[in-house]
């Protein structure tokens, strides 16, 4: 299929050198603008103190790469705890959110009792946002302030992810479910043994969306967590990189500290790496997932 698409249609003229170069410039420029900042950050985090001093702050390519900044960050204290918090919130949050969304999406994907009103209940959330203050009050009333659950539970059902899954589940052939039912399978079994194995790719995509959401969540943490020891990576990133407060040896639990530049960049990289790691594995699936959701939704 892709080979056919790569052949130039006969009616299409050869691109002129002018258009060729415009295209190259636009797409190349866009890609470079994305890659270069990321590369500089990674390089600087790996640079030695001398590299940084020589380059006057930023390094395009570290000549004496060292992982000292990372050793410092992971050696304990504030940053190590923050990574733990973020990993916990991401893993637990994604698991809960996936389970909830899959169950709800499957149940509303068939014409069942209460299916219609529940579907409308979800779709209404796309129209209206409840607002920051009432949300805060509810979380507070539930006693979740300063609890990590305040980062997890409010994000446990995303309407968009729900639509992606539901659309996919609706396209599972009814005959398949029918035959499973005739064989005596319950709805639970059908979901677990028939529908979910068929939807692995979509579930992976939705899982990625949830995981990225939990990993990136910044505002909820700012809103609900006063206790610095429960801060996730994103809040650390804001406080010590964006606002420029410096991490003290005390907070990190080690000394002497490497160059603040490489330390800051290492914080940035820590926030970046998990996403850079899962991205290539799921990238081939997600366009399909997005489009399933968007076309129907």
């Amino acid at each position: 299929m892709s080979i056919a698409a790569s052949r130039r249609p006969i009616w299409k003229e050869r691109p002129s050198p002018f258009y060729q170069s415009v295209k190259t410039l636009v797409l190349g420029g866009f890609a470079v603008a994305i890659i270069v900042p990321i590369m500089v950050v990674i390089s600087t985090s790996l640079a030695s103190d001398q590299d940084i001093i020589d380059a006057g702050g930023y390094v395009l390519w570290p000549s004496h790469p060292t992982v000292k900044a990372y050793e410092t960050l992971f050696s304990g204290g504030l940053m190590a705890r923050a990574i733990g918090v973020s990993v916990f919130v991401t893993l637990v949050g994604t698991a809960i959110a996936l389970a909830t969304t899959i169950a709800l999406a499957y149940a509303t994907s068939r014409p069942v009792l209460f299916g219609r009103p529940v579907l409308l209940m979800v779709l209404f959330t796309l129209l209206f946002a409840p607002g920051i203050i009432p949300m805060f009050l509810v979380v507070k009333q539930l006693g979740l302030i300063d609890s990590l659950w305040s980062l997890i539970l409010p994000g446990a059902l995303g309407a968009f992810n729900f639509i992606v899954l539901r659309t996919f589940f609706m396209n599972v052939p009814a005959e398949l479910l029918e035959s499973a039912r005739i064989d005596g399978a319950s709805d639970f079994t059908i979901l677990r043994r028939v529908v979910m194995p068929l939807s692995k790719a979509v579930i992976a995509v939705v899982g990625l969306f949830y995981a990225v959401g939990f990993w990136n969540a910044f505002f909820n943490a700012l809103l609900y967590l006063n206790d610095t020891s429960k801060w996730p990576v994103q809040v650390i990133l804001r406080t010590y990189v964006l606002q420029g407060k410096s991490l003290s040896a005390d907070q990190l639990g080690v000394e002497p500290l490497p160059q603040p530049q490489s330390l800051q960049m290492a914080v940035v990289v820590v926030a970046l790496v998990p996403i850079a790691l899962v991205y290539p594995f799921l990238q081939r699936h997600f366009t399909k997932g997005v489009i399933t959701g968007a076309v129907k939704g």
Partner: protein, 332 residues
Amino acid sequence: METLVATQRPETAEPAPRPPDVRRTAKLPLSVRWRRDWQMVLLMIPGVLFLLVFFYLPVIGNVVAFQDFQPFLGIMHSEWNGVQNFVNLYANPDFWDALRNTLVLALVQLVLFFPVPLALALIVDSLVSNRIRRAFQTVAYLPHFLSWVLVIALFQQSLGGAGFVNNLLRQAGLDPIPFMTNPDTFPLLVVAQLVWKDAGWAMIIFLAALTSVDVALYEAAAADGAGRWRRLWHITLPSMRTVIVLLLILRIGDVLSVGFEQFILQRDSVGPGAAEVLDTFTYYAGVVGGDWSSGAAAGLAKGVISALLLWGANTIAHKLGEPGIFQKRGQQ
């Protein structure tokens, strides 16, 4: 191989007539349906609970906008004060500043951001080499998955006062440019960040729409002597009209929410004069300043106006004969 979206024919264009489900929706007595469906109903419960607690309860909680809310008294015991909070908002110049900033930033984003993904998609679609196309897509999608904190940190490290661009300028003997702290150019900075983060991602949907354009139309047009620009104008763009309208509607419904995190993160460096929007106003007045009722009133006003805008845009789209986002009822 078949993962590259741009080369796929979408199978969703015309949904095939579905065979009747094993569950007939015919009028069955409730007890029968319950006995048949109870497991499905059970599967709905966790999701419905989350919706009730973390969406519908806060929606009801918006009543604090009509109260003189005191946290230690709680919603049940706080005094009602009618529309007083809205009257106060009306008299509050900060609120109007926030509203004006919101609208200006939204407009700038709509005008400057919206065409970018469409243009990128048209260029990418015209690429012949699949390798280049895929490589570009991989790079372009990536920033969407980075958090706003990270994106702004990257911008700061690149364009900030001590960032590497200004470092280079200084080394070249030029004056550094305050990209990140100038309130006058803040809207442009915001659009640049948005383009950097999301233009590639927003391209996906246009690419998908492009694959569904009928190739025979191009062939016929080319046979009739239409050049590439005529084909673009008379075939490609009209074929994508539905998708373009759909995305415009969604954007309009989201207009008042212009990147919240983006602003809260940059409000300190740029100053509230340029970076205060309705959402940050709500946060700073309500949660930080302790004026819960004003914050809630601003938030509620924003929510209601957004919902009305979305509905209005969709109605206009319907009038123009486009499907819009909310289809007519009756389709499952």
